[in-house]
Amino acid sequence: MSEIKIQIKNLYKIFGKNPKSALVQVKDGINKDELLEKHNHVLGLKDINLDIKEKSIQVVMGLSGSGKSTLIRHINRLIEPTDGSVVVDGEDVLKMNDENLRNFRRTKTAMVFQRFALLPHKTVLENTMFGLHIQNIDEKEANTRARRWIDRVGLSGYEEKYPQHLSGGMQQRVGLARALTNDGEILLMDEAFSALDPLIRKDMQDILLELQDELHKTVVFITHDLDEALKIGDRIAILKDGIMDQEGIPADILLSPKTQYVKDFVEDVNRARVIKAKHIMSELNGQDRDNAMFVDQDDFIDRFIDKVISDKPNCLIVKNKNNDEIGYLSTKRLSEILKR
């Protein structure tokens, strides 16, 4: 198992005039509506615990008002919590002084925003170099690094344009290039693709996954879209009204939702398109290789389901990238999962 990069412990956030006293009430178990009605405080986050693994994509999903954007802003402390701790690489972000915090933001993290938040008075190139200028990195190096990432997100030729002259999808590519140029280990993406058209959103998701394959950043990705969460996330945390309902790998969330809320959420999902072979395989146990079918661990069910129906194999053997056999999958289990 890989190392834990970001550890969020017992995190509370209450908005209002006197959050500390409201905190006592919340810890005593008062609920969100009561808190608002009786004490005029808004419960943002309640007792959030989340370990985010290095080099993985952690999705935080929830509807608007669930506290997901508040949560991501605690990781780089754009928002101060009412209580709890956020530890990154063993260091408590909340105990840093201004200077250390700025350094942490400059070198460890980079953020992509829902509405891009580009600097309208700077060109694409200057926007991309922004993080490096803040760090006073010399112009020549900044330029080279920025151009590399502009090229990488497919914006070559647009270096001298202003953001207003670009479409939403292209603006977010600039946002992504700006974040990647900063070269932090942690990438915070706050509903980064939510404002884009569906087709463009799919493009951007593919770009992100492709880049992640190569860069292995620790990505925290906020979204309200379950399909996006399932497509991108190595793990998914589901927030509702500031409380974390469930956290786990996508397949677990789909196959064994813990609360009614999560159940309602995942009901209409096409499982064949979300669950990969590796999610539902069992351990190899001397299965018969006669009439077996081989599938890749990262194949979604709908990649091989047609072949299963036409070839009628006895079982499926799951292989990893190096072609080692790592698990098996019976046709019975497969049909159970698809029947739900």
């Binding site: 780089n76 754009l78 915090l101 700025r102 350094n103 942490f104 933001r105 400059r106 070198t107 993290t109 980079a110 953020m111 925003f113 509405r115 938040a117 580009l118 600097l119 309208p120 008075h121 700077k122 922004f130 993080g131 200028h133 803040i134 760090q135 647009y158 344009k161 202003y162 953001p163 207003q164 002259h165 670009l166 479409s167 292209m170 700006r178 900063n182 915070l188």
Partner: protein, 297 residues
Amino acid sequence: MEKLFLSEFPELSRETLRFIKKGFDTSYRAFSREYGDTIEAVFDPVLYFLVWFEKLLQNSPWPFVLICFLAIIYFGSRKISVTIGSLFAFLLIGIFGMWEDTMSTVSIIGVCTLLSIGIGIPVGVLMAKSERAQRICTPILDVMQTMPSFVYLIPVVMLLGIGKIPGLLAVVIYAIPPIIRLTNLGIREVDSEVLEAADAFGANPRQKLFQIQLPLALPTIFAGINQTIMMALAMVVIASMIGVKGLGQPVLKAITNQYFAMGLFNGLAIVALAIIFDRVSQSFGHRIQQHRSGARE
């Protein structure tokens, strides 16, 4: 008795009022006797600069000055029509014998504008950064803009006498509020999401101010500079009452002697200057925000 109380406002007795006013005036006179010279000395560098600038404009050969003006106008506005219009305006001014006065006016307006920018922008920034500064400055600005200018001319003249510096102060007091207000407004209007992004990338307050807030507020600040210039020009006649040379003095003479033509010519010259300053600063303001123009790709 009752009736008298209602029909006449109960006021302080004449004696008391005279005592208050006299006390106020005497102490202010004492203050100005004590510190007048020191305060005057503070303004000496400004005075030297103003005199030097005025002499430079008046004593250089007029074709040279005219060409410099036209060059500035062209590079400021990038508009050939504005440049040609200005050429005719300056030629007419010269032909009608107002060249020297116009140069005086241009020099005092120029210095006042520079002073207003130099003081106004930092004050505006301070107001934008601090709620307390805003609470303190807003009423002061209100007073500066609404107090009849003659009223604050009195203490300025008592303190510094008649001449260029009191005139300069009067003009700056009157003309500086728009640039302060609009700098404050421009900075406060900067998109909070952009500032959050700057925070997320670890920008310090100075980097935020110079790389984001001021550049994004620049169009609004420029509107303030434009207004400041216009208001400074409006003060030219009043400033001439306390000894500032320029187009205001003939106007003043025209009022007292009922010379209609003289007043009209000089008045029109002020109008011409105003239009030139306005067009140039506006087109310059538009040009520095080129990122707002242009079609999407």
